[in-house]
């Protein structure tokens, strides 16, 4: 008797949190449309988005969805090509089921579609679009991407205050993102008393960096800063030592990915970064996300998975705020009202109503140690600084 009773009690206790929350969503779904690359040069990022979206949907729909209705999405391949993105924009705008649009990946594609979303009055949530002019497209154009104006000064803190660089060499991806980041970083670095001795922009499809690195070497820096994504960041790291450079390296948070270590091998050991997303961070949002991601996909999530996951969470928060059966204008208005949306990247996401971007960013300092990402501890950093 007793054991059975005990078991029942235990079961009740275990189930309590689930029963307490809303019943799983059912009925006609609430849709969001995604315009992004599933084929072509940027296809890998579209695949990462999908993983993040699906996980977020499970989460949201188990919690009761959008006022009882499940959230669902339709992902259309744009190849990050502006021509296809404008076609898709018309498709989504005309599809009455679509309540919000997410994407596109690159600024040329996203910003080409913006006028169509703005005119038709459908919110475009460009969650990887950090171009400073992106949200100037109108009051339906929002972005929860990390603002470079916020995050590059943190990188400058890491490079100059923590690691003690005085003569900095910057290598940056020569795109709208990399160029904007470089401009902010250079200003922040100089404000912190360092000197940027050389800044070299490279093309996204570049693979050979030896000559660039000789140029960097001749500028005689005492530290390198990479404003890169993980594939190109790993390529640069792999060639740095081959041209006889031994300076410490700090990279922007966008290199954070298990892939960075896979592609960079031993060469990325000792590289510092500060990222808004780190799976071992103890915060509850991060830990829930990471555990569930690993359970579902059997691998570590990376930054783009996290951005996609967050974007859906933010979209869902806005849809819930807008109320049941809200129209598109009500959804737009909800973005002005949502506050402290739990977020993997931001902790709590809050939009600035003026810029329609998420304000502030927190970050963790990381370092690659023995082929693994680890929290960058201040003592190790100090020894790097004094070793020179």
């Amino acid at each position: 008797m007793l054991p059975r009773h005990f078991l029942r009690l235990a079961a009740a206790l275990l189930l309590a949190p689930i029963v307490a929350s809303a019943a799983p969503a059912s009925g006609e779904p609430v849709w969001f449309g995604v315009s992004g690359p599933l084929t072509g040069q940027n296809a890998q990022y579209g695949a990462q988005w999908k993983a993040g979206f699906d996980l977020a949907l499970d989460d949201i729909n188990a919690r009761g969805g959008i006022h009882g209705r499940p959230l669902a999405y339709t992902f259309e391949d744009s190849q990050s090509d502006p021509r296809q993105a404008v076609g898709l924009a018309q498709k989504f705008v005309n599809d009455k089921r679509i309540a919000i649009e997410l994407g596109d990946f690159s600024s040329p594609a996203s910003m080409a579609a913006s006028p169509i979303y703005q005119r038709a009055g459908l919110v475009q949530l460009g969650f990887t679009n950090s171009h400073p002019d992106y949200t100037k497209g109108g009051d339906f154009i929002w972005s929860p991407s990390i603002s470079q104006a916020d995050s590059q000064p943190l990188l400058a803190d890491l490079a100059i205050k923590t690691l003690g660089f005085k003569r900095v060499a910057v290598l940056f991806l020569n795109t709208d993102w990399g160029r904007t980041s470089r401009d902010v970083f250079v200003k922040a670095a100089e404000a912190r008393g360092a000197q940027v001795v050389i800044a070299e922009g490279y093309q996204p499809d570049e693979k050979d960096f030896r000559s660039t690195l000789v140029r960097v070497r001749d500028a005689n820096p005492d530290g390198l800063v990479l404003i890169s994504y993980y594939p190109d960041g790993a390529l640069i790291a792999g060639q740095v030592r081959n041209v006889g450079l031994k300076q410490p390296i700090a990279a922007s948070g966008s290199v954070y990915s298990p892939k960075f270590i896979e592609l960079g091998g031993a060469a990325v050991n000792g590289i510092y970064t500060n990222t808004a997303f780190f799976p071992e961070e103890p915060r509850a949002e991060v830990q829930t996300f990471v555990t569930r991601f690993k359970a579902r996909y059997g691998k570590e999530p990376d930054a783009f998975n996290a951005y996609a996951y967050d974007a859906v969470q933010i979209a869902a928060a806005a849809l819930i705020q807008a109320g049941p059966n809200a129209d598109r204008t009500a959804v737009r208005d909800a973005f002005y009202k949502i506050k402290d949306v739990p977020s993997v990247v931001f902790g709590k996401a809050n939009f600035d109503p003026q810029t329609r971007r998420v304000i502030g960013v927190k970050s963790v300092d990381l370092v690659v140690k023995d082929g693994k990402w680890a929290l960058g501890d201040a003592k190790a950093a100090a020894s790097v600084a004094s070793a020179r």
């Binding site: 599933l38 084929t39 072509g40 040069q41 296809a43 890998q44 579209g46 695949a47 259309e76 391949d77 502006p82 296809q84 404008v86 076609g87 898709l88 018309q90 498709k91 705008v93 005309n94 690159s106 600024s107 040329p108 910003m111 080409a112 913006s114 006028p115 169509i116 005119r119 171009h131 002019d133 020569n174 795109t175 709208d176 990399g178 160029r179 904007t180 070299e200 922009g201 490279y202 093309q203 499809d205 570049e206 693979k207 050979d208 030896r210 000559s211 660039t212 000789v214 140029r215 070497r217 001749d218 594939p231 390529l235 792999g238 081959n242 041209v243 006889g244 896979e262 592609l263 091998g265």
Partner: protein, 609 residues
């Protein structure tokens, strides 16, 4: 620059040249025999890298076995490409096999992406990890292996071509295909062997380069083709030792370009080198002077096909249908796809005139779009011109700048024209990237005002649709009128036989300039419309993929055929949209559809005019 640095830059240039050489040798070999620039070569390179990756990951093969598997696998792929993509097109238009290789490359890239995921993968080197100090840098075992394989394969090829019977057959076929066949050479077998050898080399270089960078991805093939082609052409197409020297020269130019002007200028220098060499030596550095002049790609050797004349009443009916369509309240999506088609049709009109009627196959037409788009945007934003006027002005500017850019290349013939225009297209994009004071560099031009005409807003879906349709139809009518005049005949005369045309007192340069002038106007107008549609453009908006797409439209419709160009544009803009239901397979289906069309209608849907 100190001597140490100069030495380091030189070593780096040779290292990268070494890598280009492996690609260039294969391309040169194929060109030597089949007079074909094999655009699928970069894809074979990618497939080779992935075969190696699969062998190491799943079969845990040691290096020699991996190399062997890659050589066999890519060699077999080369034979397959020859058998499926090229042999059936013998005797068809010269241009058809070129388009076939583009289609094959498309299909291969998508297949790799579907099978191996688009994410870049690491490909750890299986070689010992020792490094040799050279100057202030080091080189590793892989550098030496790549150089060794490059040189050894060149030497082997040289011996093969000079001393073996099959080698003689290859050279005989290269010199004169028909004569070789009359002498009993099995030309198909020769072609197949050459494709096998070249592709085996291509796959091998993919594997080694992948190991070198510890990075392979399905997206790596286009750059490989591009750089390989440039290196080959610099050396003189069809010349194996020339290809090696050309690669080294290309590597060194890039390295010194970085040294003197900085990393963003790297590719700019590579393409300027290409143009300078072509203008100075139109057959490349080591092209034989006494060789037959390269034949035009269109014209003389085109399979005489009877073009299908679309009756005027049908065209008028279709136009009327298109014009009244918005009144029936169709979905904005359909309207947008058609609007995009009209804009691409204007581009295709321009290219069909240049490539079809006067026979200058251009692979750089995206550059003209970019010039038109930037011209109109900057005229409006910086000089406050009204939007409609700016579009006309952009067309005129594109016409002027485009013709001036291409002018030095007028003395080139055949494939060299395509490669020169490819280079010019890249130079335009890289100039846009680097000329920041004018173009705002990578940040791009944002806030481009929407379309307005005669002071009235024309940004609504319907208005934009009508405006782009009207512009396209006007350009088409103008071009039709032009081709019915003596100009049309003269253009074709230049295409068919430049020497004969000159003998009749026609100055080919003047007529080429006229064709590029008119074509530049049409492309510029198309680009300008696009800019006002997108509201934001940067150097990545008009990629070289668009040039290839435009050429595909034109060949598919039938070279020189105005209705064909329109049909090609509508078909190739709509098909990928049409195949959306097949999700991630849509580009694969699109590629296969393209290959089938080339296979069964090599002269184009409506035939060459």
């Amino acid at each position: 620059m100190s001597f140490t640095s100069f030495f380091d830059y030189t070593v780096n240039g040779l290292i990268i040249g070494n890598i280009y050489a492996m690609l260039a040798v294969g391309l040169a070999l194929i060109f030597g025999v089949s007079h074909l620039i094999n655009f699928a070569h970069g894809s074979v390179y990618t497939v080779g890298a992935y075969i190696g990756w699969a062998a190491i990951t799943f079969l845990h093969t040691p290096l020699p076995v991996t190399l062997l598997l890659v050589v066999l696998g890519s060699g077999a792929l080369g034979m397959l490409i020859e058998r499926v993509g090229l042999r059936p097109l013998q005797g068809a238009a010269r241009i058809a096999p070129l388009l076939a290789t583009i289609g094959i490359s498309f299909v291969l890239d998508i297949l790799v992406q579907l099978l191996a995921s688009p994410d870049p993968r690491s490909l750890p080197s299986q070689l010992p990890n020792w490094r040799l100090q050279i100057g202030s840098g080091t080189i590793g075992a892989l550098d030496l292996l790549i150089a060794g394989i490059g040189l050894a394969s060149a030497a082997l090829l040289f011996g093969f071509l000079r001393f073996t019977q099959l080698g003689w057959a290859v050279r005989a076929t290269a010199q004169d295909r028909d004569a070789a066949q009359q002498m009993g050479v099995d030309v198909n077998r020769v072609n197949q062997s050459v494709f096998a050898i070249a592709s085996a080399l291509g796959g091998l270089s993919g594997l080694l380069v992948g190991m070198y960078y510890n990075n392979i991805s399905p997206a790596m093939s286009f750059q490989a083709t591009l750089k390989g082609v440039v290196a080959t052409v610099v050396g003189g197409v069809g010349n194996v030792p020339g290809a090696i020297v050309g690669s080294m020269l290309l590597g060194l130019t890039e390295s010194y370009g970085v040294a003197w002007f900085g990393t963003p200028y790297r590719n700019l220098f590579a393409f300027v080198l290409l143009l300078v060499i072509l203008v100075w030596k139109p057959n490349g550095l080591f092209g034989r002077k006494r060789a037959l002049p390269p034949e035009p790609l269109t014209g003389t050797f085109i399979a005489p096909s009877k073009p299908w004349h679309v009756p005027p009443w049908l065209l008028a009916g279709l136009f009327a249908l298109a014009a009244v369509l918005p009144l029936f309240n169709p979905s904005p999506y359909l309207l947008q796809v058609l609007t995009n088609s009209w804009l691409y049709a204007a581009l295709a009109l321009s290219l069909t005139l240049v490539a079809g009627t006067i026979g200058q196959i251009s692979l750089g037409h995206a550059g003209l779009l970019a010039i038109g788009a930037y011209a109109s945007s900057l005229l409006v934003l910086d000089l406050h011109l009204p939007v409609g006027t700016s579009i006309i002005a952009a067309g005129l500017l594109t016409s002027l700048i485009g013709t001036a850019l291409i002018f030095p290349a007028f003395r080139l013939r055949g494939h060299y024209v395509s490669i020169a225009t490819l280079g010019i297209g890249e130079i335009v994009a890289l100039t846009i990237l680097n000329w920041e004071s004018l173009t705002r560099g990578p940040i791009g031009v944002s806030g481009i005002p929407p379309l307005s005409l005669f002071g009235r807003d024309a940004s609504s879906n319907n208005a934009f649709y009508w405006a782009s349709l009207a512009a396209m139809v006007l350009l088409a009518l103008l071009q039709w009128r032009l081709l019915r005049s003596h100009l049309g005949r003269t253009f074709r005369a230049v295409r068919e036989d430049e020497v004969a045309a000159r003998a009749y007192g026609v100055s080919p340069d003047r007529y080429k300039a006229m064709a590029f002038g008119f074509g530049g106007f049409a492309a510029g107008v198309s680009g300008a419309f696009t800019a006002h549609l997108y509201s934001y453009i940067n150097h990545e908006t008009f990629t070289s993929q668009i040039s290839i797409l435009a050429l595909t439209m034109v060949i598919l419709g039938g070279l020189g055929n105005i209705s064909g160009a329109l049909l090609g544009a509508v078909a190739l803009v709509s098909l990928p949209e049409f195949f959306r239901v097949t999700a991630e397979y849509r580009m694969l289906i699109y590629g296969v559809a393209l290959l089938l069309l080339i296979r069964f209608r090599p002269q184009g849907l409506l035939g060459t005019v």
